[in-house]
Amino acid sequence: MRNVLTIMRRELGAYFVSPVAYVILTFFLFIVGYFFLALVLQYSEASLRVASNPSWANQLNLHDIVIRNFFSTFGVIMLFVAPILSMRILAEERRLGTAEMLLTSPISSGQLVLGKYLGALGFGVVMLLMSFVYPLYLLLAGAPLEMKPLVAVYLGTLLMVGAFLAVGLLGSSVSANQIVAAIIGFTTCLFFWVVGFLGDVGGGAGEYSGFLKGLSIAEHYEDFLKGVIDTGSVVFYLTFIFFCLFLTQRVIDSSRWR
């Protein structure tokens, strides 16, 4: 455990000793802030319409209009950001030659992978915490924001970011080239994001609709966005993450034999 924490601390620290963390956080907050602004304006316009026609009032829900769409966008942005966060994790170790030091140190490859993953996830958590300024803004403004669905949304987003980073880590383990690692991570994430689409097309794929949607990161995320914590979705994400980390550990071990 101590080894895992040591690796994790360095990994998380590595984002902050280089400009990476600051560049990503700045642009990320700017983009999601822009979406937030658009959504809040949309909500205030809807409020005006309700004021003139009170029968629409039950359709006016802050969570559905702002929070849900905000985090839906958040998910898509993370689809791009997560592979960038994870691409260097192992690829850089190989390029710098530090992999040789890590793999000859008295730590197991499992501890290495777990530490690396938690470091990256730590940065994901920092991003999530930073994004909380926007819901906080609503709360401070006295908006009728429900807390329980918000917790579900945050849990779902954390799990989804966790899944993206696990895929990215796997991508980073197979190549010493960061660009290659990012491409593998991004395309794999994208595939699991859109894999459910085929189920909607009908035709031959219709039969497998349930199966395909069950594999989709986006479909499971939808549940959380509605404000529901579905155990099935939690299990899906945790299994997904575990499987990616397991494969990463196998890749590292097998690299010794090549």
Binding site: R2, N3, T6, I7, R9, R10, G13, A14, V17, S18, L96, G97, T98, A99, E100, M101, L102, L103, T104, S105, P106, I107, S108, R256, W257
Partner: protein, 317 residues
Amino acid sequence: MIEVERLSKDFGGRAAVKDVSFKVGRGEILGFLGPNGAGKTTTMRILTCYMPASQGTARIAGFDVFEQSMEVRRRIGYLPENPPLYDDMTVRSYLDFVSRIKGVPGRQVSGRIDAVSAKCGLTEVLPRIIGHLSRGFKQRVGLAQALVNDPPVLILDEPTVGLDPAQIVEIREVIKGLAGEHTVIFSTHILPEVTATCSSVVIINYGEVVRYGPLSELAAGDTGRQRLHLQVARDEQAVSEGLLSLPGVHAVGPDGARAGAYVVTAEASNDLRERIAREIVQKGWGLLEITPVTQSLEDIYLTLTGRTGEGMGRAAA
């Protein structure tokens, strides 16, 4: 302390290391010598548990590098050919990280960092970012990294490459200072390095050990012959004939283009050397100089690795 037995490593059918065996006793320094691509790095990577051998065994402090890898890894310090450094970190935070993953107890970390940085001359650069350091300092940080958990065995892959002469001497002194407490293997293709620091030598070429033994034995050679350099005042035809007629003298030839200079190949014995000297004096050839030619490590190396360059033909004796 280190026992290597019939170690082999294939990379997809191409043998990088073949049947390598050697032993290093506690506190000794072994020089691992060979041209680039001879299999030095591969052997070291097997010893440090970075990759498994295809055949053969290696034991460090009694632990098998494959079966008891964790025990071995706890006992070694390894400096790979390219020092494994994170350019973004400061020297201190880097050494802190390495000492923790190498299992130095939390309370001792700071003390160990101070100790190794003093030993490697890094005290002044501890707060600096590694990426901004010169090549020589980076190499020293790499060495400090290998030493930080005070391992009994050190494996250093070309620790002096890319350093300037003054730095080479410094690093060499550090390595020499490690002998006794630590068992050291270090590889190099710079020969004076070995003469200056090692107690024994393994010369490896195309993956095979071509010579292995204590430095003193290697330098003496084991051919049972000696070579003498002679300089006489009067160069006469009789000199070579006269010397050749002595029992035990195998060959007499001119040494370079100088008049009166000869190289004598003879049985290795001091009596014979005395005989030769007396013979020259008695015949009145005018003995100016008689020097035994010891084979330098360089000669041995070039002969054994068969990579004699132009103008180095004298080694081919």
